[in-house]
């Protein structure tokens, strides 16, 4: 079949001879696409690149070859700044970008990413369900900050609605949150820890800034995995948060390996604190009903060698809640901005 030389219907430029009768040509001048038979397929440029850019005034950063639009800073941790970002393309992805503020802590960023990668590949019971409730790794690499310093960065998938840490809850409710809300937070956190322990890991840093809640769906997400270790390896946690020393059992700060019991102690201390009590003792205020008060206190003093299972503690929590509040029912928990 003879192939004719075509002119672009968009701008009139000559097009190169087509390679085949069914081929599609792209005009080098205006970007129009034309079928080799001369029928204009897309007479005007409609390339994704021609879509208006998303939020053109926001800064862009590149991690591992992918460019992201920084939407704003979600918060600051002990060594990282955490940003909400989205892939800078029409087919996008919402992500959380974690960038080391303290350059010395680059290894912690890498370590956290590796551990979360291991979880995503875990075959422990319940992995299909629980890996969705852990931060999901997207990419890691270096980013250049505005003055040109290169910083360690990790990208995780954004989980809609998980935007309030327990630290923030205590700011909103200085007197402490509703004990009935503390019950679901405790149970959800115990479920995740149950999976994590079964997979052979201890989190090692169950602290208020590392527990994020979804107030509407009563969900809890556990972040801050840089300190997690496989508890059978006898390695210590790499680091501890200086500002949260009260939440750690003393032996951890001495360099002991965290165990499942360590996580349960830290979780109880965290909840006692967010209820308005003191972390170091795990004592909640007296308005917290007796059964919960006692359970929190006992959990906060667990021995490190204690043989405990997060799932059985969850049953204890349910029993204490039944005793304190009667049969479970949905009690809305609100934060500013939420209906």
């Amino acid at each position: 079949m003879e192939l004719q030389l075509l002119k672009c219907p968009g701008c009139g430029a000559n097009l190169p001879p087509p390679a085949s009768a069914n081929g599609i040509l792209t005009c080098a001048y205006c970007g129009a696409m034309v079928s080799a038979k001369g029928v204009a397929v897309w007479p005007k440029p409609a390339r994704p690149a021609d879509d208006p850019p998303f939020a053109p005034d926001r800064p862009r950063v590149t991690v591992a070859g992918t460019r992201y639009v920084l939407l704003g800073r979600l918060g600051q941790g002990d060594s990282c700044d955490v940003f909400l970002a989205r892939r800078d393309a029409r087919i996008t992805e919402m992500v959380v970008l974690k960038v080391a503020r303290a350059l010395w802590d680059a290894d912690l960023v890498a370590r956290e990413y590796e551990i979360l990668e291991e979880f995503q590949g875990s075959s422990a019971q319940g992995a299909e369900h629980f890996t969705r409730l852990l931060p999901q790794p997207v990419a890691r690499g270096k980013v250049k900050d505005p003055v040109g310093t290169s910083r360690a960065a990790a990208v995780y998938r954004w989980s809609s609605g998980f935007q309030h840490s327990l630290t923030e809850l205590r700011q909103v409710y200085p007197e402490g949150i509703d004990p009935r809300a503390a019950v679901w937070m405790w149970k959800r956190a115990l479920e995740v820890l149950g999976f994590v322990h079964r997979a052979g890991y201890a989190h090692g840093a169950v602290l208020p800034p590392h527990l994020l809640v979804h107030p509407r769906d009563h969900g809890v997400m556990l972040v801050g995995w840089a300190g997690a270790v496989q508890y059978r390896t006898y390695l210590p946690v790499a680091s501890a948060s200086k500002s949260h020393a009260d939440f750690y059992p003393e032996d951890i700060l001495d360099g002991a390996t965290p165990t499942p019991a360590t996580d349960l102690v830290m979780l109880a201390r965290t909840l006692a604190w967010v209820l308005g009590g003191t972390a170091a003792t795990g004592l909640a205020p007296s308005r917290v009903p007796e059964p919960l008060f006692v359970l929190l206190r006992d959990q906060a003093r667990l021995e490190r060698g204690a043989v405990v299972d997060a799932w059985s503690v969850k049953e204890d929590v349910s029993r204490a809640a039944l005793e304190a509040f009667g049969p479970p029912r949905f009690v809305p928990f609100t934060l500013p901005g939420w209906r």
Binding site: A19, S20, A102, E128
Partner: protein, 330 residues
């Protein structure tokens, strides 16, 4: 194509009649139906007509290898009428649906089968049930999804896009990864196209999204692990993980509803599904599957996170961490 109009009652009646038929009777093809052979097809067209002045092209590219054949069967038995009804409820009146069946070009006899865009229930159903559920599949970890995307990108023409600048929808189901390149040899053998060289799958996605909103649906959580990361690199938040294959219809119709603005946000979707009579657990599953994508549209029904207007840090701050040494010098 695309003549005739959609009747929900007729469609229901059609579905009712096949309640007890086995898969073999329902999908009786034993080879690629000659009309579904992509060889030599120039264009599959979704056109406006007097009956359908505002057509909207929708492609279902269904993986028919191995256990993935469940989804075409689900659609044929009960899914398709509720998909169409949900679109009508969502204000999408002139949808035109094309079915593709996807297999593996290295080992299947019919790795790509292509129907036509149809608005009429009988024809739509006919294309679906004319698919040959070969049930094969080959190289572990890969299927020829890239060929389906290539066909949709280069061999379809949509009036909704051409005349109204509105993209159609491309839904693909699957549980494996695509091959990284569209092979020019396979394209020549299957469709008769001459490509000068292999096309990277990334470029095919880029071409596909000119005229389509592409989505990839993974049928259950256990199969996420095979392929989710890979597809997310290609399609970002448009990779949707279902909790069970039966949610496919609710998820796809809700995606169209959300994108077209007929469903305002996830809360509105929850109410919509409740009206449709979905039980609590199915509603939850559909909402969990769709929330990440809804968040990219700003329609996840949660308040916008409080964000500080900051760029990356520039100073080397002191660490808030205390480094711990192993006890006993271990």
């Amino acid at each position: 194509m695309g003549y005739g109009s959609y009747s929900s009652q007729a469609h229901e009646a059609l579905i009712q009649a096949r309640g007890t038929l086995s898969r073999q009777v329902l999908f009786r093809q034993e080879r690629c139906h000659p009309l579904m052979d992509p060889r030599g097809v120039n264009w599959r067209e979704s056109r406006d007509s007097e009956v359908h002045p505002t057509s909207l092209g929708i492609i279902f590219a269904l993986d028919v290898t191995g256990s993935m054949g469940d989804i075409p069967e689900l659609l044929a038995r009960r899914g398709l009428p509720s998909f169409m009804r949900a679109l009508l409820d969502a204000g999408v009146t002139d949808s035109q649906v094309l079915f593709m069946a996807v297999g593996d070009a290295n080992s299947d006899r019919a790795p790509l089968q292509v129907g036509q865009f149809e608005s009429n229930e009988r024809q739509m159903d006919q294309w679906l049930t004319s698919s040959f559920l070969e049930g094969g599949g080959g190289t572990p970890g890969h299927e020829s999804y890239e060929l389906a995307m290539y066909f949709a990108a280069r061999h379809t023409d949509l009036d909704c896009f051409r005349k109204r600048d509105r993209r159609g929808y491309f839904f693909m189901t699957g549980d494996e990864r695509p091959y990284p390149f569209v092979s020019h040899a396979q394209v020549a053998a299957l469709m008769g196209d001459g490509l000068e060289k292999d096309l990277p799958v990334q470029q095919v996605v880029d071409e596909l999204q000119r005229a389509f909103e592409p989505f990839f649906l993974i049928p259950d959580l256990a199969r996420r692990r095979n392929c989710e990361r890979y597809w997310r690199e290609l399609l970002g938040d448009r990779v949707i993980c279902l909790e069970e294959p039966g949610d496919c219809v609710d998820v796809t119709s809700s995606l169209v509803g959300l994108c077209e603005g007929a469903i305002a946000d996830i809360d509105a979707l929850a109410r919509h599904l409740e009206r449709e009579g979905r039980d609590r657990s199915r509603r939850g599953a559909v909402i969990r599957a769709l929330t990440p994508f809804a968040a990219t549209l700003g329609r996840d029904g949660t308040p916008r996170p409080r964000l500080e207007d900051e760029h990356l840090p520039i100073d080397d701050a002191t660490s808030g961490h205390q480094r711990l040494a192993p006890r006993d010098g271990r």
